[in-house]
Each structure stands twice: as structure tokens, then as C-alpha cells.
């Protein structure tokens, strides 16, 4: 690991000021960053510990929630407001990592975590366009069981590893950002970007900016929502496919529906085509299939990850049928 200095930010202004220098990384729980530094993927010269910033979980004026970026994942998952009003979010957080990791990991850090693509993490053994732009991608012609079928590019097919962000995408969460040029709020679904020709640029966060909070609006469907994760072992593994879904019915037809996928794309994948096609229709097997096919029409299936298309369809279908049954 390269030599690195460590400072603690006492305030948002402090963090923004300290973060302006070159080669700085903001440190949350460190559960991803410390590992990446040890592997040589990340080589910052300075760490700014931002865990002293807000970790509050408050009800917002509009009836939604505001969660401080320094809140630990485990505290958010266990918080009564989250458990009662946004069970999908609790379930998604609890589906991720292990209790030890969730106890350290912060909300902001969860958004900023990097892909677990094994080629990205293999500094000495593999080429990677995300790690070294222009060097090549070994996943596309290599072992790609864990890689993207939607949203990838000829430069990169790495997936975003977060479970929590999949639920946040379905819940229309907002990312509150502070920076030297002021504050701004962006939708979570716009926060992460697709790789295109620059897979090294993963979010729209400027290097001098900092995530200060996650906002979640009030929701009519969130109480009747679920998160399901399919993986190679029953626990403590990244998703092959995960689905966050919320559904309300009216007179036998779909009233509100929200769907987001994890494990299949370089960012949390909000399935707007599925939502548009299912709204106001009776929830039949053929309607679900047609909606799914619209969303996955451009799926790029490789030898290692082609199974994800069918797996995603079956997982979504099972969840919607279950949620519709509850909603009658």
C-alpha cells in the first residue's frame, strides 16, 4: 500500500475543503476502499475520513426520509422508519455483504463502491479499461458470469455491486451533494453513469464534491414492496440477479408499479419500460413477459452471463405475482 495521510473532517465545509486537493479519497467505513488500496487499485495520497458527518435518519417535511451519508448500513436497515415504511430498502441492505461489513459501511460509501469484477481488482494479472483507460477488457472474452447484460459497452461490462442502490433506484431516491460551487440534488438513477468509452468515470460526482445525504420521497407502494436476490450461495455473495419491486392494484389492474434490477448492469437498473407497459393492465403472465421483453430487447448476452436474462424474467415474474396476490 502506498504511503497515505489521514485526516478527519469535522463538517461538510471541512470535507469539501480537504477534498479539493489532488489524489484525495473520502473514507467512509473503508470496507471497499481499504481493500482497493491494499490491492493497488486505488492509490490515494490522502484519506479524508467523513464518518463524523451526519448519520441522522430523519423524517422529511414531505413525509419522506433524509438519511445522512455517514449513517451505517446496519443502522439504516434496522431503523423503525425504514423497516415500516420502506421494507424493500431494509431487505436490500440486509441482502448485501455480512453484518460485519454492514456495521462499518456508510450510505455514501455504498453509492461510491466500485465493481467487484475480478479483472478490475487484479492489478498485476489483468487488463482493465476501468482501472487503466484504453488498456482493454478481459471480461468480454473471458469469465463473465457476474457481468452485465444491459448497459455495458465494448470497453466495459462490469456490474455495480450494490443491493441497497437497487432499492433506492426503485424508490426514486435523491442524492444530496455539496461542493465548492454549492449544493445540488440529483436523482439516484442519474447519479451512476453507463461506461460508454470511459468506464473509469462511474458517477456524475465531481472529484471535489461530497455526498451529504440520501433523500427518499413518500411512497404509496413502498409498504407493499420487496427485494429478492439470486446468487451462487444462499448468503454473503454478490447478486447474479436481484429485483426490487413495488406494486399496488386497483380494480384488478396495476395502479402503481416500480421495478429495478441489480447484478445485470453497470448501474442500478430502473426498468422504466416494464413500468410503462404494466401500468393500468391486468397482471397476466403474458403482460409480464411482454413488458420484460421490451426492457431486455437490447440485452447483450455472452457465453458466461446469458442465463441472466431468463433468471431475471423468472425472478421478476414470481415477485410481481406474489405482490399482486398480497395487493388483492
Amino acid at each position: 500500500m502506498n504511503p497515505v495521510t489521514y485526516v478527519r473532517a469535522a463538517s461538510i465545509a471541512d470535507a469539501v475543503l480537504m477534498g479539493r486537493e489532488n489524489d484525495v479519497r473520502l473514507l467512509g467505513g473503508g470496507t471497499n476502499l481499504v481493500d482497493l488500496m491494499r490491492k493497488g487499485v486505488e492509490t490515494p495520497s490522502r484519506l479524508v475520513d467523513v464518518t463524523a458527518l451526519s448519520e441522522r435518519i430523519d423524517q422529511a417535511d414531505d413525509g419522506g426520509l433524509v438519511i445522512g451519508a455517514a449513517a451505517r448500513n446496519s443502522m439504516v436497515a434496522a431503523h423503525p422508519l425504514v423497516r415500516f415504511r420502506y421494507p424493500m430498502l431494509s431487505r436490500a441492505i440486509l441482502a448485501g455483504a455480512s453484518a460485519q461489513v454492514r456495521n462499518m459501511a456508510t450510505m455514501g460509501g455504498n453509492l461510491m463502491q466500485r465493481t467487484r469484477c475480478m479483472y478490475f481488482n487484479d492489478v498485476t494479472g489483468a487488463r482493465c479499461n476501468k482501472r487503466v483507460p484504453g488498456s482493454g477488457c478481459e471480461a468480454i472474452g473471458g469469465f463473465n458470469r457476474y457481468h452485465a447484460i444491459l448497459g455495458g459497452s465494448t470497453a466495459c461490462i462490469a456490474t455495480h455491486p450494490s443491493d441497497m442502490c437497487v432499492a433506492l433506484a426503485a424508490l426514486d431516491a435523491q442524492v444530496h451533494i455539496a461542493g465548492p460551487d454549492g449544493d445540488r440534488v440529483v436523482p439516484l438513477v442519474a447519479f451512476h453513469r453507463l461506461p460508454g468509452e470511459r468506464p473509469d468515470i462511474e458517477t456524475l460526482l465531481d472529484p471535489a464534491e461530497i455526498i451529504v445525504a440520501i433523500g427518499i420521497p413518500p411512497s404509496s407502494f413502498a409498504r407493499r414492496s420487496a427485494y429478492r436476490k439470486v446468487r451462487d450461495r444462499a448468503s454473503y455473495a454478490f447478486a447474479l440477479v436481484s429485483v426490487a419491486a413495488g406494486l399496488t392494484m386497483r380494480d384488478g389492474r396495476v395502479d402503481e408499479v416500480r421495478v429495478a434490477f441489480g447484478g445485470i448492469a453497470p448501474k442500478p437498473w430502473r426498468a422504466t419500460r416494464i413500468e410503462e407497459r404494466l401500468r393500468d393492465v391486468a397482471l397476466s403472465a403474458s403482460a409480464i413477459q411482454a413488458a420484460f421483453e421490451a426492457e431486455f430487447a437490447e440485452a447483450a448476452l455472452l457465453p458466461g452471463n446469458g442465463f441472466k436474462r431468463g433468471l431475471a424474467e423468472r425472478t421478476l415474474s414470481a415477485m410481481l405475482v406474489e405482490l399482486a396476490g398480497d395487493a388483492q
Binding site: M1, A77, S98, Q100, V101, N103
Partner: protein, 178 residues
């Protein structure tokens, strides 16, 4: 600048790159905490940080500045076993024993989490404030600790015995119920 380990204060290492795991093992010679994968995949390095279970391999020692760490050496001794240690012996919760300190630290915090009503991915009713600790719940909650000898069934038996004893207010010491 100090870290409290098992009740005693130690200075924070000058080199910021030192992990909490390396501080414990290499500088303080508390070798009960084990180094397994050193990348957050196995749980062998689990310790308690202000009472919560964390992975000491993924924690820089400087992150623990001003905080309190408990290792396996702080939970029990050969003369005065922690109830979980006694139960692991009774139920053959190990073969080689390498993962055991991490398992026991994780189990200690896990039982505290259950007592505090914290849900897991398997908790059916997220609105409930009482957790029923089933076998599957223990498996899910302990999934961050791998045992390559495959002693997981004994580990779960041991944890369930202590959980049951705690629920009934019994005390287990030295491998015998009192």
C-alpha cells in the same frame, strides 16, 4: 490518539496504512484474532468495535482512534471461558480452530443484535420488534464467518444453546450448565 483494546489504552500507530488487524497481531501480539483472506471475505479477523462486530482487516487502525476494541482475549480466558467458548467445546464447533475466535466474536455481537431486535434478510416480519432465532436465522446472521473444516452445524448448535440459555437466564460456564 489512543485505541482502547480489551480495556487498556494503546497509541495509534504512526503509519496510517496499518490495519486494525495488523495492529492487534503484529504490534500488540494479541494473536487470538486471526488473519485469513485479508480482504473481507472470511470473517476470521472479526473483532468488536464499540460493541459492534467489524472486520479488522478492512479497518485501518487510525479509524479506531478514540474507540474501544474487544478481541477474543477480552471475551474469555482459559480459566474463565465465555459461555460461547464453553458451548463451542460442548458442541464441537470447530476442528482446526482457526476461524473460532472470529466466529465467537461474531456470535457475541450477533446475539446482542438479536436482543436489540435488529432484523436479518430472513426476518419475515420486518415490523416485529422480537426476533425468533431459528436455525436458518443463525445461519444467515453468521454467513460472514466461513469455516473450511465445515463445523457450521456445531457452531449453530453452540450459538443456539447460549441464545436459549440467555433467554432463560441460565449461565453456562466451563462447558457445564450451572
Amino acid at each position: 490518539m489512543s485505541i482502547t483494546v480489551n480495556g487498556l489504552d494503546f497509541p495509534v500507530p504512526v503509519d496510517t496504512r496499518v490495519s486494525l488487524l495488523d495492529l492487534l497481531r503484529e504490534q500488540m501480539h494479541l494473536t487470538g484474532t486471526k488473519i485469513g483472506c485479508n480482504q473481507g471475505a472470511c470473517g476470521a479477523c472479526t473483532v468488536l468495535l464499540d460493541g459492534s462486530r467489524v472486520l479488522s482487516c478492512l479497518t485501518l487502525a487510525v479509524q479506531a482512534d478514540g474507540r474501544s476494541v474487544t478481541t477474543i482475549e477480552g471475551l474469555g480466558t482459559a480459566e474463565a471461558l465465555h459461555p460461547l467458548q464453553a458451548a463451542f467445546i460442548t458442541h464441537d464447533g470447530f476442528q482446526c480452530g482457526y476461524c473460532t475466535p472470529g466466529q465467537i466474536c461474531a456470535a457475541k455481537a450477533m446475539l446482542d443484535e438479536v436482543a436489540a431486535g435488529m432484523p436479518s434478510y430472513l426476518t419475515t416480519n420486518l415490523a416485529a420488534d422480537h426476533i425468533t432465532l431459528t436455525r436458518d436465522e443463525v445461519r444467515e446472521r453468521m454467513s460472514g464467518n466461513l469455516c473450511r473444516c465445515g463445523a457450521h452445524n456445531g457452531i449453530i448448535d453452540a450459538i443456539l444453546e447460549v441464545a436459549g440459555a440467555e433467554a432463560k437466564g441460565l449461565e453456562i460456564t466451563g462447558g457445564h450448565r450451572s
